[in-house]
């Protein structure tokens, strides 16, 4: 009685004799197509009786023209499952080379999981939340430790016990400072324009349009210039620090450095940190000037002021400390951005994916800390009365 007949598979049952004919090219796609069918035959899902009865199984491989490891696996697995059920199994017409492959395609330990263990989703969410809290605390602690480490290193540099890598330092100033001038300048200018425009609209209603100059002057110099610049630099250079150092970690370049007696802190972190502390104040200064220029443009165009009127009003509105408070913050923000960027870069482990995750974190963390610090400074300066 023929149970199944196709180009590749032909199954015959006669009493307790089961004859499985395999023919043609048993390669991956064929094997994948017939896999379910053979699984059912071997598993006895259709007619357990058949399987019980099959005491004698013959696999006729006379017509087999090609066999790859997928085909060999499927055929071999079928044969073994009959064997395990106590049947007598034999092959007919099997070529020697196919026999070798059939033997090779046998799993020693078929049940070892090859997927990472999966956990209950509820537990996973809970564990994830817990992990996030703990890791936030750990990041804080690590970052503080790293901060201390860099302070010690800077102290070493100041007392000439360590050497600054001059070329790297200059390169970093170019990459993080000079190359950022156009974007920082443009964005600060546009924000100055927007601020003056919106301010003028509101203040004109009270007949106090002239105070637009005070608004632009104070907010650009105290807050917007430095904050906007710091955020742009965090996105531009903080991320670059993490990605550069992280890729070197993945390639084990950082490990190689350690074995050669080079300190990654000296070679990678210090040039970037110090370069950013020079570059960010300079960029902030440029940002301040262009922010004010944006305000001046609107004052001239919308408020019919002259440049000299604008400047006179500006000098009445702001004093040195409006500018000074902004500039004091710049190197501190630079320190934070470089610190977080390098720290995250050094924490990269193993994979390319990890570089991406760390880069994201580096930008988010540094912008977060910059804004929190800015708020703290605002309170601090207000209390000091400057």
């Amino acid at each position: 009685m023929a149970v199944e007949a196709s180009e590749h598979l032909n199954i015959n049952v006669q009493g307790d004799r089961l004859r499985i004919g395999v023919a043609g090219a048993w390669t991956l796609t064929v094997a994948a197509g017939l896999d379910q069918r053979l699984r059912r035959v071997a598993g006895g899902a259709e007619g357990d009786a058949d399987k019980q009865r099959a005491r004698n199984v013959v696999i006729d491989a006379g017509g087999l023209t090609a066999l790859d490891s997928a085909g060999a696996w499927v055929i071999g697995r079928t044969a073994r499952s009959f064997q395990d059920a106590g049947a007598e199994i034999s092959f007919e017409g099997l070529r020697d080379d196919f026999a070798a492959l059939l033997n090779a395609a046998e799993l020693g330990e078929p049940d070892v999981p090859i997927r990472p263990a999966r956990v209950n989703p509820f537990v996973a969410v809970l564990a994830h939340a817990g992990e996030a809290v703990v890791s936030a605390a750990l990041v804080g602690r690590d970052l503080l430790g790293f901060f201390g480490f860099t302070l010690v290193t800077i102290f070493g540099l100041l007392t000439f016990r360590r050497r600054l890598r001059g070329v790297a330092f200059i390169n970093q100033i170019e990459a993080t400072g000079l190359n950022a001038v156009p974007i920082v300048g443009l964005l600060c200018f546009l924000v100055g324009v927007v601020l003056a425009y919106m301010g003028a609209l509101q203040l004109e209603r009270f007949g106090a349009a002239i105070l637009t100059v005070n608004l632009v002057g104070v907010s650009v110099l105290r807050e917007i210039g430095v904050l906007l610049t710091a955020i742009i630099v965090a996105g531009r250079s903080g991320s670059a620090f993490t990605a550069q150092i992280g890729t070197m970690k993945v390639n084990q370049e950082v490990d190689a450095m350690e074995t050669l007696g080079l300190s990654p802190i000296d070679v990678l972190v210090m040039p970037r940190l110090l370069a950013l502390m020079v570059a960010l104040p300079l960029l902030t200064f440029i940002g301040d000037i262009l922010g004010l220029a944006g305000g001046a443009l609107i004052a001239v165009m919308n408020l019919k002021m002259t440049i000299s009127q604008f400047l006179t009003q500006l000098s009445l509105a702001v004093d040195f400390w409006d500018f000074g408070t902004g500039m004091i913050k710049a190197p501190i923000f630079a320190y934070v951005i470089a610190l977080v960027g390098c720290h995250q870069g050094l924490k990269v482990s193993g994979s390319a994916e990890s570089v991406g995750q760390r880069t994201t974190r580096s930008v988010v963390e540094s912008i977060f800390i910059v804004i929190v610090l800015d708020a703290a400074f605002a309170v601090f300066f207000a209390e000091l009365g400057i």
């Binding site: 066999l67 490891s69 080379d97 799993l107 193993g350």
Partner: protein
Amino acid sequence: MSDTEAPAIRIRGLVNRFGDQVVHDGLDLDVRRGEVLGVVGGSGTGKSVLLRAIIGLQRPAAGEIELLGEPIVTGEGELATRKLQGRFGMMFQDGALFSSLTVAQNVQAPMREVGGISPVLMDELARLKIQMVGLPADAGAKYPSQLSGGMRKRASLARALALDPAVVFLDEPTAGLDPIGAANFDRLVSDLQRSLRLTVVMVTHDLDSLVAICDRIAVLVDQKILVDTMEALVTNPHPWIQDYFHGPRARAAFETARHASGRPA
């Protein structure tokens, strides 16, 4: 093997250049279907570059390359070899595993592209390939960064063999394997090669592999390639070839091979 069938690989007048460094200069090569070709040559003679050129990753300065009868033209955009997907596999010298996937997922990646294979069968096949290359079964659930260098090579080999391709390129496959693993690997390549008429192009410095499984040997010298059987190459007067096949390691390998096959000296 019919004479009308196109050779697995046909190269004419291949020139590869980096700046003014000429790596290959008018190289010709025919690889027959179903043979195992060992490629040897000093470090930096362009063995890896040759493999990259054949599979279309490296644009040659001049010359023609055909892989399984298809001309390989490297230009902008899609690789010409994309349409040969699944018919050749490459094991890169440094592994080149996808770092965000587990070893099992790496092996399944090409199967997934084929489609129509049930997840259960894919898992079984992944297990099989992982075992075939001599990795412990639990390596399947690990990420490449959790493996040793030698294990990464094996995983990469498992991925190259995932679809049982017609032509496999192996760039120094046994470097970094222990001798037992290397011998097992040689046997595996032989088995697969015979049942599938697999064509294997294998860059190797492992003289044992060369003696054990290679039908012919291609030697990269003087920006050209010289292909012959081991017996013929041994008598070639070129100084590098003489050094290579008459060093102490070569003698040891020949000795072992003689013992293994039981032939008299």
